[in-house]
Symmetry: C3
Subunit: 168 residues, 3 copies
């Protein structure tokens, strides 16, 4: 045994630790059931929209309203009616002071619509329509109030905007 190279042992240790860490992150419980719907806690590096979509698909959420807060990197977009595209702006390492949105469905996939307000170290607030976000050095807590109706979002013309369609 004394002839077993040290560097191989070290490499093995690092490999095992990394594998364990990845497995922990992958298996990390990201939400729990509550009477109102679900409570989600995301951690550093998590892709916010991807995790919400996974929840919607796995738990077959018909539709839901969400409210959240945490510490994030966020990308906002303001719709430009001339170019018909969102003019984007990114903010890194900021408090998500408020996040409000809804889950519906479109073309068989979850359709998120989220707005947010972020603040940095000068405490000034920015925000609007959220195009995406990842969790920064902290966490993000989101509460989902789940509804009992399968709701769709559809593009309405000539408005040119996706609108949540209600039904009785």
């Amino acid at each position: 045994m004394h002839s077993f190279p040290l560097f191989l042992l070290t490499a093995l240790s690092i490999f095992l630790m990394t594998a364990q860490s990845s497995a922990q992150q992958a298996s990390q419980q990201r939400y729990t059931k509550i009477p109102a719907g679900y409570l989600m806690v995301l951690r550093q590096g998590d892709d916010v929209f991807a995790e919400i979509e996974k929840l919607a698909i796995k738990q077959k959420i018909p539709s839901a309203t969400l409210a959240g807060m945490g510490f994030v990197n966020a990308r906002f977009g303001f719709f430009n009616f001339k170019t018909k595209e969102y003019d984007p702006k990114e903010f890194e390492d900021v408090e998500m002071a408020s996040m409000t949105g809804s889950i519906a469905w479109q073309d068989g996939k979850p359709s998120l619509h989220c707005h947010g307000v972020i603040t940095g170290k000068d405490f000034r607030a920015y925000g609007g329509h959220l195009l995406g976000a990842t969790v920064s050095t902290g966490s993000l807590e989101i509460t989902f109030t789940v509804h009992d109706k399968l709701l769709e979002r559809t593009m309405e013309q000539p408005l040119g905007a996706n609108v949540l369609q209600l039904k009785d």
Copy 2:
């Protein structure tokens, strides 16, 4: 038939199209029942406070908390303790990044108290006490969590502010 004046036909067409459009807007379903209370979707031109008041009256909502987001024209007011009036400011075509409020009753009428945060194309956030809003080129989604107690708002003196009155 060939002697039937074209301008009359045109006028008739426009009249029918307008009537149909108005009927659609009037009959447009603006809310649906959910376990927590009601989910509302307002569209371009809708008067936000008027629609919330209609919901409160028609559904006899004893009291409720609301949360919303969308695209609006909004009018905010900051209370001036000298003049005892709200100094107003309007914002056109802005994202409603967050809207938080409550429904109670006062003098037999629905009493709304709403705060909001809006952002424009520079993503800077403004807001406060909402005096009124209409939906701009987009929609406004509002979730109402309905309570089981009939609550009143009353003017408290010497504070000079309307305050939600609780009861067991």
Copy 3:
């Protein structure tokens, strides 16, 4: 009776009025039960975090999400990763345009995590992680959505942040 000193009567009156006022403030009902959890209304001078903690303890709230709005003096802090402390900033007599947070437990005591957005008379928005707040000339309405699971917040290392721990 005519020999009874007037100043003593005056002092007695003032004492009784003050005592009554304090008793009113102490006995003032600050929350009521609603289907979703609790609805709280705080008034001028109330310490927001202290009142939420009292509610959590008295009603044995296992965990909850909160949403609020009102008129406050607020103290925000932005976490400084070098000093490992919050750089604070205070805002007096401002609208709380949005307040979002959660209640959990840590070391047997309620653990609050609240974010907020405030606006002053120029309507500009500021905010972030709330370190504390008192109600100013107005009120503060907070709705608590109560969950059925006893949740803890624990300090996670090397992150150096308190994170809400979920469980099935």
